[in-house]
């Protein structure tokens, strides 16, 4: 029963009794509407319990996108008014921002209460706690407030626009990376004597007439590369405010990995993923839109933490020769640095994208009055030592700044890959 029905019943009873006791018919006039309201509320008491369901229009979204959360109570015929509230957790916003919706069922149709929810940060997010209450006709009875099961949405990391130079070791059959050898591409390589298999349209008649020997235009082959994205999720430095606020080191790493994967898959490269964190996601090399989606799903499930086994001896990366390893790391974990150096010593091209920028440093690191600042200074000195160490071993370290981050470094690596060098196997 609703508070209003109890109020009406109590007042009708009390005032009627007083009216009879004191012989005041005017008090009966005051009690009559409440008695009638009480009776009508009792007549329309619901006969069956109400059930409600929560439906989410999309379970997979990119961070920043929104979807509709529908709450569907049944038995509309017995309900006069339905109210739902939604309390959202961190990194999820709702519309209406007030978090409550009320509807009046019409024409006997089951009502639907709708909220728009939008995850503001990548990850597996609950859409929040929703509660529902419904009242019967004439406000006599209320069902609820009833807590409904929470829905979950997977927020894929945002893949911002990214482009980059060619990778240094193209070895595959398809793709858009310029190979060192000649082939059936579009980039001019040389004018050379005609060989069996050359197409007739490639014959350079001017040179042929001048030399008296058939010459053809040679082009470089276009091949795909293998790229391994190695995400360091052993530490999560800084506070994240989602898309609308600050970013932390893991945000930068995950979004950069997503952007890199999208770019390389678009140009036909094979992309693999390895996460060094609590969840240890691993995805073998592959290409295509479906592979990109799978990679983003794994990135959305990254959780910061220390992996069970973190060391070059325990980790097997299955990276073939010519693979370009892009490490996304805040460079705060010596074990990850050891992994990078080990991969470089195997002859793989390793590039480090530094995900820790001065803006990401937590507040205690900037406050000169706290002891935490001293601790952070020590930690940053150690970090600088690691950066120096990997740079000395020929591993470039570049801060992430979106498109073009890897252009210069990949160009230098491509130039270096053409020169002979000594390596250990």
């Amino acid at each position: 029963m609703t508070g209003a029905w109890v109020r009406a019943t109590s007042v009708a009873a009390i005032v009627t009794l007083v009216a009879v006791a004191l012989g005041r018919p005017d008090l009966l006039v005051l009690a009559a509407p409440f008695a009638l309201l009480c009776a009508l509320g009792a007549v329309h008491a619901p006969r069956n319990p109400v059930t409600a369901q929560v439906r989410l229009a999309d379970h997979w979204l990119h961070e920043g996108q929104s979807t509709t959360l529908r709450i569907l109570p049944g038995r509309a015929g017995e309900l006069e008014q339905v109210t739902a509230t939604l309390a959202v957790p961190a990194f999820v916003v709702r519309q209406p921002a007030k978090g409550s919706v009320s509807v009046t069922p019409r024409d006997g149709r089951d009502p639907a209460l709708e909220f728009l929810v939008s995850p503001r940060r990548w990850g597996v997010r609950s859409t929040g706690t929703s509660m529902i209450a419904a009242t019967s006709h004439w406000g006599g009875y209320r069902w609820g407030p009833q807590r409904l099961p929470e829905a979950t949405v997977v927020a894929l990391p945002e893949a911002r626009a990214f482009n980059s130079g060619e990778t240094p070791h193209p070895v595959g059959l398809i793709g858009q990376n310029r190979s060192r050898r000649g082939g059936d591409g579009s980039e001019f390589f040389a004018i050379r004597p005609f060989q069996p298999g050359d197409r007739l349209r490639r014959v350079n008649w001017r040179t042929t007439l001048r030399t008296g020997e058939v010459h053809a235009v040679g082009t470089t082959a276009q091949e795909d590369s293998s790229v391994l994205l190695l995400l360091d999720a052993t530490s999560d430095v800084g506070a994240s405010g989602g898309l609308d606020g600050e970013v932390n080191a893991l945000d930068v790493g995950v979004r950069a990995a997503s952007a890199l994967a999208a770019h390389h898959i678009q140009v036909g490269d094979r992309v693999a993923l390895r996460v060094l964190g609590r969840t240890n996601q691993t995805l073998g090399p592959g290409s295509g839109v479906r592979h990109q989606r799978r990679l983003q799903e794994l990135l959305a499930q990254v959780q910061p933490g220390w992996p069970d086994l973190l060391g070059a001896r325990h980790l097997r990366f299955r990276a073939g020769a010519g693979t370009v390893v892009v490490v996304l790391s805040p460079m705060l974990t010596p074990e990850v640095t050891t992994v990078m150096v080990t991969l470089a010593r195997r002859g793989l091209t390793v590039v480090v994208v530094d995900t820790l920028t001065p803006e990401i440093f937590p507040e205690p690191a900037r406050n000169p009055r706290t002891a935490a600042r001293l601790a952070w200074r020590i930690r940053l000195v150690e970090r600088q030592m690691q950066i120096t160490e990997v740079t000395r071993r020929g591993i470039p370290v570049v801060p992430w700044h979106g498109p073009g981050t890897l252009d210069e470094v990949l160009r230098r690596l491509a130039r270096r890959s053409r020169t002979p060098r000594l390596m250990t196997r």
């Binding site: 109020r7 018919p25 005051l30 009690a31 319990p49 996108q65 109210t83 978090g99």
Partner: protein, 181 residues
């Protein structure tokens, strides 16, 4: 799916909720005014109690304070010397206004937007309920003019019997269709 949405950090009740809850206080004020116009002599503390209860009910419309507000309003009217004043209909309207406004306000959290359909529906119902008060007042005036009071008792007993029979039928019919759990 759509683009990003705005984030509202701090949320307060809207003007619609404020207006709705003001109706609770206005209803109480109408009762007090009608009673004074009908000749009731109210002390300031009595008026203060009724208005205080109205304010609490407006703030917490689901609370039990509402019973106190309506009972207090009836008490205020009971202080009038004239029992069949037409101003009792104004008092009844005020009590209904306070009650129904609190009922609509209690349908959800204070920050919720008031459902316009519900407001219109309850306004129409309020008018219907007030008409019942007018009918009772008309009957009272009519019975008061009857030459024989026995007829009034007979009418009252008949009415009570009809109500008792209707209530019995209602309870029985609901018991017959009650679901098995």
């Amino acid at each position: 799916m759509s683009a990003a949405m705005a984030v509202q950090r701090r949320i307060y009740p809207g003007l619609d909720q404020v207006a709705l809850r003001t109706m609770v206080v206005l209803g109480a004020v109408a009762v007090v005014t009608a009673a004074q116009a009908a000749g009731a002599r109210l002390d300031s503390w009595e008026q203060g109690i009724v208005l205080g209860l109205a304010l609490i009910t407006a703030y917490r419309p689901e609370s039990v304070t509402g019973v106190g507000l309506l009972a207090g309003s009836a008490y205020v009217w009971a202080l009038t010397p004239e029992t069949l004043s037409p101003l009792v209909l104004v008092a009844a309207a005020g009590m209904l206004l306070a009650h129904l406004a609190a009922q609509v306000a209690a349908q959800g959290p204070a920050r919720m937007r008031v459902d316009g359909v519900q407001v219109r529906r309850w306004a129409a119902r309020g008018l219907l309920l007030w008409l019942s008060a007018a009918v009772v007042w008309g009957l009272t005036v009519g019975v008061d003019d009857l030459p024989q009071r026995r007829l009034a008792y007979a009418l009252g007993l008949t009415l009570l019997t009809v109500i008792a029979v209707a209530a019995t039928r209602l309870v029985r019919s609901r018991a017959d269709v009650a679901p098995t759990q």
